[in-house]
């Protein structure tokens, strides 16, 4: 145990995800030795992340303005919405450069253990979005891209139930199975089992 502010800093850093006690200690002593200007920049960045970042009115992604860059982009297809759990999932799908529609960030998944139900997620906003036309066009397809784990699958099932009543709306779910560029022999049983049961006729 160190004394005073240094230990406080280590404790705070140790609370961050992915940072263990050893890393926290290392970062703390790095900061202790850093130039005041560097510390100032870090301080500013931390300050701004709470004050400056807003969530997009339309999709719920992190944004610098009231509407995010993707939702402002008129070249993107407004009839296509990809539903994800977290803002970092938007980034993951964006990296594919395959998807030209828009997003909807739920802000998590159904997780009764953590007290997260449908009201804590941005599901109501999604239903409103589907009900309203954008530029005179209806939403045609919802791609559900929640995580393929217990909570994500439950959220997907719930969304499918809620979206059934919209006439003419196509609802799809991301496929799950083998990673590209991998060898069959290195796939674990669960993934390979899923890929087997989700096989398709070619």
């Amino acid at each position: 145990m160190y004394e005073g502010p240094v230990q406080d800093l280590i404790d705070e850093l140790g609370r961050l995800p992915g940072v263990g006690p050893k890393s926290a200690q290392r970062i703390a002593f790095h900061l202790l030795a850093a130039e005041p200007a560097d510390i100032g920049r870090l301080q500013d960045a931390l300050q701004k992340v709470k004050e400056g970042v807003v969530f997009c009115d339309v999709c719920g992604n992190v944004s610098a303005e009231t509407t995010c860059r993707i939702c402002r982009d008129t070249r993107r297809d407004v009839t296509l919405i990809c539903v994800v759990e977290e803002p970092k999932d938007v980034l993951a799908v964006e990296r594919t450069r395959e998807f030209k529609g828009r997003y909807h960030v739920l802000g998590g998944a159904l997780d009764p253990l953590s007290g997260v139900g449908p009201d804590q997620l941005r599901i109501r906003q999604l239903l409103q979005r589907i009900g309203n036309q954008v530029d005179g066009k209806d939403v045609a397809e919802i791609i559900i891209a929640t995580d393929p784990n217990t909570e994500g699958e439950a959220t997907a099932t719930y969304l499918v139930r809620m979206l059934r009543d919209f006439p003419g709306l196509t609802v799809t779910r991301l496929a799950s199975g083998l990673p590209m560029g991998g060898d069959l022999e290195f796939a674990d049983e669960l993934t390979l089992g899923r890929a087997m049961s989700g096989r398709r006729v070619v």
Partner: protein, 383 residues
């Protein structure tokens, strides 16, 4: 298959131990508390990545050491594989096969298959239903590792649904309606994973039942016939015939539908009590001798024989699947009478490899003549 070599470092009481085995019988003899069981426990750990004695890994590491290492050479169909496991407290274990690291420790599952019979197994007959469910699930994983995933998926959904029921129940008692709009979703997932687990267990019981009955008749010929059967929490909704040797194979979709029906029926009670009342987590593997349940009616000797018959039944079943497992008999001869010892010796003598621990050499029937190891004062000597 057989274990050719076992080496442990900082495992349980052992700073270091080194044993070379041959196919056939090997007996570890030594007074109590010298670490015989620890050695076979190490082999069990390689086979299942778990201990038959404790639920966590910490007690496996020798007091004061950062990690334990188990290294074993297994010969299967003439091919030898070297498995190394490093068990570290509070961290992920590391595994190597033939000196090459494998991405996940569970990739070593299936290289060594053991059937271990130990004094703790009396709980299979006298203990809670959970012990018998674990017996079935461990067998499922031994036959097809995929079921480890099915089981953990089911447990996860069960936990989530349980949390939802609890909050809904609390809300109802407080006079509010509570949010159960997502309960249908969780019901669907519970039924899907639950039916998969249930179907696998029913088929397993159908497959293993004749082996258990035959093993019991061999071990305890003068006793009443032993029967096992699966009682699910589905009650009247369960389709007839599944889980019996002469019945049809379990139909997953029919079971899923039955589970949904039953979940719907008991929903008010579930919300009242805040617990999940339907699913494989409430099922029971029923053991009967003649017309009476084994639990509460079987004598001490009969309970022992039944536990042994379950293990031997599992052994026969795995043997039928191919790749004969290594039979491990940990300190069990002292608990059996002369006749039962003889019968067990007959089964064991026919195994490709059997490892036996005993406090006194006289407990081991002379039919089981083979290599002897003296275990004493933290050392192993070949006798």
């Amino acid at each position: 298959m057989y274990v050719r070599h076992l080496q442990v470092s900082d495992f349980r009481s052992w700073e270091r131990a080194d044993l070379a085995f041959e196919p056939g019988v090997s007996v570890l003899v030594g007074p109590n508390g010298q670490g015989k069981t620890n050695l076979v426990e190490a082999l069990g750990y390689v086979a299942t990545l778990g201990s038959h004695r404790v639920a966590t890994d910490l007690p496996l590491i020798r007091h004061g050491s950062p990690r334990a290492v188990v290294r074993t050479a297994v010969v299967n169909d003439g091919r030898e594989l070297l498995v190394e496991l490093e068990i570290t407290a509070g961290k992920a274990n590391r595994a190597r096969v033939n000196r090459g690291p494998v991405p996940r420790p569970r990739d070593v599952l299936g290289i060594l298959r053991t059937v271990l019979f130990a004094p703790e197994d009396l709980a299979l007959v006298r203990g809670d239903p959970g012990e018998r469910r674990r017996f079935l699930d461990d067998m499922l994983v031994a036959r097809a590792p995929r079921y480890a995933g099915v089981r953990s998926d089911y447990e996860r959904v069960l936990k989530q649904r349980g949390a939802l029921l609890k909050t809904a129940g609390a809300a109802r008692r407080a006079g509010r309606s509570g949010d159960i709009s997502t309960l249908d979703v969780w019901d669907g997932h519970l039924a899907k994973h639950g039916a998969e687990l249930l179907a696998a267990r029913l088929d397993l019981v159908a497959d293993i039942a004749p082996h258990v009955a035959a093993s019991y008749a061999e071990v305890a010929p003068e006793s009443r016939p032993a029967r096992i059967g699966y009682r699910s929490s589905l009650g009247e909704s369960q389709p007839e015939g599944f889980g019996r040797p002469d019945g049809p194979r379990a139909d997953r979709e029919a079971l899923e539908a039955a589970m949904l029906t039953e979940l719907h029926r008991v929903r008010p009670q579930e919300i009242d009590r805040g617990v999940c009342l339907v699913g494989p987590h409430r099922d029971e593997l029923e053991l009967a001798l003649g017309e009476l349940p084994a639990k509460g009616y079987a004598s001490h000797g009969e309970s022992w024989s039944f536990a042994l018959a379950l293990r031997l039944g599992g052994y026969e079943l795995l043997r039928g699947d191919g790749a004969e497992p290594v039979l491990v008999l940990d300190d069990v001869f002292a608990e059996l009478d002369r006749g039962r010892r003889r019968q067990l010796a007959k089964v064991a003598a026919a195994a490709e490899q059997v490892l036996i621990t005993a406090a006194v050499a006289e407990d081991v029937p002379e039919e089981l003549d083979g290599a002897r190891f003296e275990v004493r004062h933290g050392e192993v000597h070949s006798a």
